[in-house]
């Protein structure tokens, strides 16, 4: 177990915006193959943490490493290992579905770009609308395309920022099974979410972030969903750390 590579290692990770501290000395280790669900109130720092891991934030204190490579301004190679799904779909609305995928495949220098694009269209059930302009798609389809975009380059680590928000039941299940497959195939997932049910479908670990610090970090095997939900709601509504149930 100690030999397993670490997908994301944050040590003393701190991010300040002026005098506001979004992340306070965060220590988080996400081993390869894990699926970590990140919970917390809005403004707790979940998005900031994901943005640092996704190379969207240029400067920070402490260390953040992706598979042993430090996330650094200007060093781009580690970005090849990471796929990012944000609040925004990060898609070009005036391009077709297939052109969007082609663009990202080429941008990431995917070796078998055209074949890979076809493969993704099939895998994400987008073939029927491949030539449609993204502007015309439903939210669920855009989300699927966004996910396809995120994995076009076969990343080893997938970062998702509240991926279940706004999805209907069908799309949610679909996303769940896609993530499950991703982890089964050896990938690592770190996602922020408010959806306890869905998260516990896939997650191997649950982490709660409060005002920039981690106050809860346990394997999902050790706690059951209702207990966690109770603790999490405590955090959401009262702002207090959950009872230190053996943390």
């Amino acid at each position: 177990m100690s030999e397993a590579p670490v997908a994301l290692a944050c040590r003393g990770l701190t991010k300040r915006y002026g005098r506001v501290t979004a992340l306070r000395s965060v220590d988080l280790e996400v081993p390869a193959g894990a699926c970590v669900a990140l919970f917390g109130r809005n403004g707790a720092g979940k998005t900031t943490l994901l943005h640092v891991a996704g190379s969207l934030i240029g400067s920070y204190e402490g260390s953040a490493e992706i598979f042993g490579r430090r996330v650094k301004h200007g060093d781009v190679e580690h970005r090849r290992l990471v796929g990012v799904v944000l609040h925004d779909t990060c898609l070009y609305l005036d391009l077709s579905v297939i052109d969007n995928l082609r663009f990202f495949a080429r941008l990431y220098r995917v070796p078998d770009a055209e074949a890979r694009v076809r493969e993704l269209l099939a895998q994400f059930d987008l073939e029927a609308r491949a030539l449609s302009v993204v502007r015309e798609l439903s939210r669920g389809m855009k989300q699927r395309l966004s996910l396809a975009r995120a994995v076009v380059h076969r990343p080893r680590l997938l970062l998702l920022d509240e991926p279940y928000t706004g999805l209907d039941e069908l799309s949610s299940r679909s996303l769940s099974s896609l993530l499950e497959k991703f982890v089964r195939d050896g990938g690592t997932v770190l996602m922020s979410t408010h959806d306890v049910e869905r998260a516990f479908d896939n997650a191997t670990r649950a982490v709660i972030l409060e005002q920039g610090s981690i106050t809860f970090d346990r394997s999902t095997a050790e706690i059951d969903t209702p207990t966690f939900r109770h603790a999490y709601w405590n955090v959401l509504f009262t702002g207090h750390a959950p009872a230190r149930a053996g943390v």
């Binding site: 190379s55 240029g58 779909t89 898609l91 070009y92 005036d94 391009l95 663009f103 941008l107």
Partner: protein
């Protein structure tokens, strides 16, 4: 860097081919400006024809701004531009790709507007000075796009990008605009020499492409 530039250029061209937004808007706007000039200034007199080149470049300055604005407005819509930050690409390559796309759009606009312009102002290119016109268009569009692409990225981060883009970058393009007008005037036979202006345009282009390549990453990041 060249690979990234190529992919970004391809993407911008694809979008333009599909929507024809930038060129369409720039073209219509140019014609509109020329029509307004005609009514405001009675452009059909010999004196005005000498100033034809000036009118052309004023129309270009305004319509070009529209096209440049769109360049990054696209990236902001649904956060596509963010992908250019978390992807393993260098900012200079992104700049180069967008810059080349903008140069192409501006050139196409110029070419489409030229006939209308020649007709409205009853002017014409002097027989052996066609090379001057081509050079004038290319260097002028390049200079404009060099600074405009950078400032478009800067302005797209603000609440008032339509106002800020022209305010920020038109003053900086003053040398290029003066030079462009002088070189086009030369091509149209209104002046006799323009070697200084051609040289200035080249220097301007080189300086600002270089500076933009170096500084662009700061415009993209979070």
């Amino acid at each position: 860097m060249l690979h990234t530039a190529g992919v970004v250029l391809w993407k911008d061209l694809r979008i333009e081919m599909r929507t024809r937004d930038a060129i369409g808007a720039a073209f219509v706007f140019s014609l509109l400006v020329m029509v307004i000039f005609n009514f405001a200034l009675d452009a059909n007199t010999p004196e005005m024809r000498r100033l034809a080149a000036g009118f052309f470049w004023v129309a270009f300055a305004f319509s070009g701004t529209l096209a440049l604005n769109r360049s990054f407005a696209l990236e902001k819509e649904s956060g596509a531009g963010r992908a250019l930050v978390f992807a393993p690409v260098d900012a200079a390559g992104v700049y180069l790709g967008k810059f080349l796309a903008n140069v192409l759009f501006l050139l196409v606009t110029q070419i489409i507007v030229l006939p209308a312009f020649i007709v409205f102002f009853d002017t014409g290119v002097v027989a052996d000075r066609w090379w001057a016109l081509v050079l004038s268009f290319v260097l002028g569009a390049t200079g404009f796009a060099a600074v405009g692409t950078l400032f478009s990225a800067v302005a797209s981060n603000t609440r008032m990008r339509e106002l800020l883009l022209p305010l920020l970058f038109l003053p900086v393009t003053v040398p290029a605009l003066i030079a462009a007008v002088e070189t086009t005037s030369f091509a149209l036979g209104a002046t006799d020499s323009a070697s200084f202006w051609f040289r200035l345009l080249v220097v301007y282009d080189v300086v600002f492409i270089t500076v933009s390549l170096l500084i662009f990453e700061y415009a993209l990041e979070e």
